[in-house]
């Protein structure tokens, strides 16, 4: 059994070393690939160890620099945080292998692996930190890496997308920083466990609600909720397949994680005010996302809009705030990361084999590559929520929880959006796989069939992720159980606070 200090530090140590060594070997791409893969596997391994350590419901915490809890920076892992780190590790390895084949356009750039590890570093740090200012720093690390990855190709479309993506995200994080400043001003602390203790005792609860709404705007913009999602469909489709897959898997989910974390730990007192706002946001996010997808014929743009649409479901937990709903949200995040990243990876294969991302130029792929069709249907139908795939259980839990709590409109729009999602997925199926192949379309398929090494590197992660989707669907019990316990743990904040503040709890109380 490793000490919590090591368990909590290893998941960020591997990406940090990955960044450092990739920078050292910046001119040698073969070495970089090797380093990046080792670091990703290291992240996955340490995430597994961390998840095993918190599986029984313990909360691990460590103080950096040995400063006592409210004064130094702390790292905390409860079941939710550990699960998110684990899923980040799985994605790091899957997309890392997929990206090995020189699929980055144009030609694998010298900075790709460095920025990739930087992105993982920022994401993992954001999941583990227990300090709100430190969260801002991880956000920025994640952002600057994603800026770099997006603009890596330097094509006209990417530069255009970069302008919008960078501007809107910088505004959102600066707004987050201002909110952190205000929060510090009224509480005098930045430690999240300490904040959870102090915020309910404040006299001016109106100010606390104001801060809650400001955090909702700052994190909501990261999570791409209505009406703050514009940066996402403007940018995602311009990046190459592995980059957009890792973006789709992790970036918005960090925003969702931050919303769930702050609204269960810090602002659980004023659910009466923020609850209806979040409910409206969730409904509009689901509906606008799915309608936006219906308008497009580029696979990447359809899938990008579906990211937005699915974020709405993840907010159910905050609206309903029962253990079932919060657990459902957690299950939804986990399921969605796997399925959505897999769909983008498959889109990359469709582009390779079919020669385009544009549905109008595709066709006949089911005749030439029937296995790819099956691989596409698994995540596609899971995204729409068909049983017995992972999407069914996650949709079922959040919708049941909202019905139990009497949120009829929320549940109804969840069901309706599920149907419309199915429509979009069938559109991709019909256009890319089912309809007759366009003239001269078989040449790229032959190229794809001939390149065995690329095929292996691109299909291994897709098959593995599809297997995880099937596993969550067919053996749902342990996953649902884990999410439910993680949800209950989020709503009962005393374990988190005790783990962080611990022995110095009374001392801090004595000297206000």
């Amino acid at each position: 059994m490793m000490s919590p200090h090591i368990l909590l530090t290893l998941p960020i140590l591997f990406p940090i070393l990955g960044v450092a060594f990739c920078a050292l070997f910046w001119s040698k791409k073969a070495v970089q690939r090797f380093i990046s893969l080792i670091a990703s596997f290291g992240l996955l391994g340490s995430a597994l160890a961390l998840t095993a350590a918190v599986y029984d419901g313990t909360v691990l915490a460590t103080n950096f620099g040995d400063w006592d809890a409210p004064f130094g920076i702390v790292f905390v892992a409860d079941m939710f945080a550990a699960a998110m780190v684990l899923i980040t590790g799985i994605m790091a390895v899957a997309v890392g292998i997929y990206g090995l084949n020189g699929n980055i356009e144009p030609k694998e750039n010298a900075f790709y692996h460095l920025l990739y590890q930087g992105l993982l570093l920022g994401v993992t740090g954001a999941f583990l930190t227990g300090d709100i200012f430190n969260l801002y720093v991880w956000f920025e690390i994640m952002l600057i890496s994603s800026f770099g990855l997006l603009a890596l190709g330097g094509t006209r479309a990417q530069l255009d997308a970069g302008v919008k993506y960078v501007t809107l995200n910088l505004i959102a994080t600066t707004f987050f920083l201002i909110t952190v400043g205000f929060l510090y001003g009224i509480t005098g602390t930045l430690n999240m466990a300490d904040l959870a203790r102090i915020l309910p005792t404040l006299e001016n609860q109106g100010l606390v609600t104001t801060l809650a709404v400001m955090f909702l705007m700052a994190f909501g913009s990261k999570a791409a909720v209505f009406p703050l999602f514009y940066w996402l469909p403007a940018a995602y489709h311009t990046a190459s397949a592995p980059i957009v897959a890792i973006f789709a898997a992790l970036l918005t989910k960090v925003g969702v994680y931050a919303i769930i974390r702050t609204f269960t730990l810090l602002f659980d007192g004023d659910a009466g005010y923020t609850g209806p706002i979040v409910a409206a946001i969730a409904i509009f996010t689901m509906v606008t996302g799915v309608l936006g997808a219906a308008a497009h014929f580029d696979i990447r743009r359809i899938l990008s809009f579906h990211i937005i649409s699915q974020i709405g479901y993840m907010l159910f937990g905050i609206v309903v705030a029962t253990p079932l709903a919060v657990g459902g949200s957690i299950l939804y995040v986990i399921h969605h990361i796997i399925v959505k990243a897999n769909l983008f990876l498959i889109a990359g294969v469709i582009d390779r084999a079919g020669g385009s991302f544009d549905l109008k130029k595709l066709g006949g792929l089911y005749a030439s590559l029937p296995m790819l069709g099956v691989l596409f249907l698994i995540p596609a139908l899971s995204l729409a929520g068909l049983p017995p795939l992972s999407g069914f259980w996650s949709k079922f839990t959040v919708i049941k929880a909202s019905l139990d709590a009497g949120h009829i409109v929320l549940a109804a729009s969840g069901l309706l959006v599920g149907l419309l999602t199915l429509y979009s997925m069938l559109k991709i199926w019909n256009e890319a796989f089912w309809k007759a192949a366009p003239a001269g379309g078989t040449e790229s398929v032959r190229d794809w069939q001939a390149d065995r090494k690329t095929k292996l590197l691109m299909l291994t992660p897709i098959v593995s992720l599809a297997a995880i989707t099937l596993a969550i669907g067919l053996f749902a019990e342990p996953f649902v159980d884990f999410s439910m316990r993680a949800g209950a743990q989020l709503l009962n904040t005393s374990a988190y606070i005790d783990a962080v503040i611990g022995p110095s709890h009374l001392a801090a109380e004595a000297n206000p």
């Binding site: 200012f133 600057i144 479309a157 990417q158 530069l159 255009d160 997308a161 302008v163 919008k164 205000f182």
Partner: protein, 132 residues
């Protein structure tokens, strides 16, 4: 002192908002700079401005008495470094976007999201009245 700083903060946010709403990407960069500095100022005010003594603990003591709050200074230092790096990146990105797309108008940059055929009508007319 706090009310004065609070008003300055508000004015800076207003200036930043005005600049950010511009279509000219140069003004957008300036807006981001001003907004970043406004954020730093807000942290500074949040730490209270009641002392001008340097936050040093005298020899033999273990507790800081009457010094300025050192935490906001540490936070702002971090934030300044981050915002400097991000703005530097933004300037380079906007500059290369300007070079490749030959425009400084954010609305005219439609490379990533070309106008859909179905909605070409109203979009076209807006493009016609673009400033030179």
């Amino acid at each position: 002192m706090e009310p004065v700083f609070a008003i300055v903060f508000g004015v800076m946010v207003a200036v930043a908002a005005y600049l950010l709403m511009s279509r000219n990407v140069l003004r957008i960069v300036l807006g981001l700079l001003v907004l970043g500095n406004a954020a730093n100022l807000s942290i500074f005010i949040a730490g209270r401005l009641d002392s001008r003594a340097p936050p040093l603990v005298p020899v033999g003591e273990t507790v800081l008495v009457g010094g300025a709050n050192p935490l906001p200074q540490a936070l702002i230092l971090t934030a300044i470094v981050i915002s400097f790096a991000l703005v530097a990146f933004t300037v380079v990105l906007f500059q290369s976007a300007h070079r490749r797309l030959a425009t400084l108008d954010a609305d005219a940059m439609r490379e990533a999201e070309p106008e859909l055929q179905t909605t070409a009508g109203p979009m076209k007319s807006r493009r016609a009245e673009e400033p030179a």
